[in-house]
Symmetry: C2
């Protein structure tokens, strides 16, 4: 019996779901409460990666700090870095962690600095100076695995550090993608990107025109035809990259459909 | 040889230093940088507990939220709870964590909600309604021990949770005291409270009149004579309580003298 189990464990990796949810969902009490309930009821090992941009913009504005965006990305000067460190690492992260604990999920809030789980470097200035924004170098998969195997559920804020004492603002999609890739050696990883639509749409005007499966070749054709455009392009590029790096499945869907049965599926 | 070591380990608990530093030290770049260097160079297992009241007051004021204090304690309404969650759990905590990582210390920022390490209940309203303030119920010593034995250094913000989804503002001295007590079964704990003076003073006018050792009987006499007064009284009461609960040594000193060789020592 013992041998049988140990054989199975040799051949089957445990499943892990990495879910990225955007700011809007975690920043409003009613949608956050729904999400936490759904997330808590997901079986198996899991990680939640969150945004928080709307709250950051609001708090920054109240503090008299203007939010400047270029190509949908926030310019992070020293004052804005303080705001996102407060809002992402404190306000949003801890409310999610406390909420999950109330659902019996043993959540642990993490930025990349905590236990050095995600190390990055400040993005070099090319056309645009994004300021204190981090591009990911390394994810400590072993440390995350130790936590996960203790049934701890990491709740990751979109912040990393440079190893020299500085926090860096880091895109939440990137955190989710890099974390999923790093853990794909140890787990059978499903990466779920939640956004405001039901999935990748074949017709932008029709919310029900979800493309159920998409290959990289199909994606390229959709882009050529102009069916897929804007922010969906980097999201899907990330998805294909994740699959190539060993992630089992990427799903693009809405936050109220994170059961793996909905949305657009990208698979190797 | 192996037997010899294992015998020693049976009889000698490993040492753990729990250091509480107030807001002022961690909120100014130069003093924070000094503290992190000193803390990093301390040998053995350690925990850092920090405040952040001055930053909270400043940010609150910038957000148009007035800080109301009663008996030196902050009244925490819903808006103020958001501020302290941001400032303690985000801004102050993550800057310390990133700073320690730069010194090679594998720091992990924690509030009580993270991994459910400190559970509390909202303080019942008696003479004063302190609002969303938590009185500590339980510290999960086993979880902290697992981290510490992995050479992780917990950096604890003065925030707890009630297990029902709410963060609660909690005095940093209390967090340090309760954590030290909870861990005294597993470790030989030294608890160091840092404040602005060199130790407990026999003459408030003379900064060098540090009382090197103090017993509970002596403390009571000093209080009767009016030598010890104000905020030092609860600090010392906490210290004697900690000793009774199994903490090996409590030291009251300045943040630039955390080597255990300075300040006022309370010992069982």
């Amino acid at each position: 019996m013992v041998t049988h189990i140990s054989n199975r464990r040799l051949y089957m990796k445990k499943e892990l779901t990495v879910i990225k949810v955007g700011g809007k969902i975690v920043e409003e009490e009613s949608t956050l409460s729904d999400l936490l309930m759904r997330f808590a009821s997901l079986p198996g090992h899991k990680i939640l990666v969150h945004g928080g941009g709307r709250s950051a913009t609001k708090i920054a504005s109240q503090l008299g700090i203007e939010s400047q965006m270029v190509n949908g990305r926030r310019i992070t000067d020293a004052d804005m870095l303080n705001v996102v460190t407060m809002v992402y690492g404190g306000l949003v992260n801890k409310n999610i962690v406390a909420g999950l604990q109330a659902h019996g999920v043993n959540a642990l809030g993490l930025t990349g600095a905590d236990m050095n789980v995600i190390r990055s470097h400040k993005r070099p200035v090319k056309d645009v100076d994004y300021g204190f924004v981090g591009d990911v170098d390394t994810v400590d998969a072993k440390m995350l695995q130790k936590l996960i195997d203790e049934n701890i559920v990491p709740v990751m804020a979109p912040l990393t550090h440079d190893g020299q004492g500085h926090m860096l603002n880091t895109n939440a999609d990137t955190i989710a993608g890099e974390t999923a890739k790093a853990l794909s050696n140890a787990y059978d990883v499903t990466l779920i990107y939640c956004f405001e639509k039901k999935g990748v749409l074949a017709d932008a005007e029709d919310d029900d025109s979800v493309i159920p499966h998409i290959t990289e070749a199909e994606f390229k054709k959709y882009v050529e035809k102009g069916v897929i455009q804007g922010g969906m392009i980097p999201k899907l590029e990330n998805a294909f990259q994740a699959i190539k790096a060993g992630v089992n499945k990427v799903i693009i869907t809405q936050a109220d459909a994170i059961d793996g049965q909905h949305g657009t599926v990208i698979q190797g």
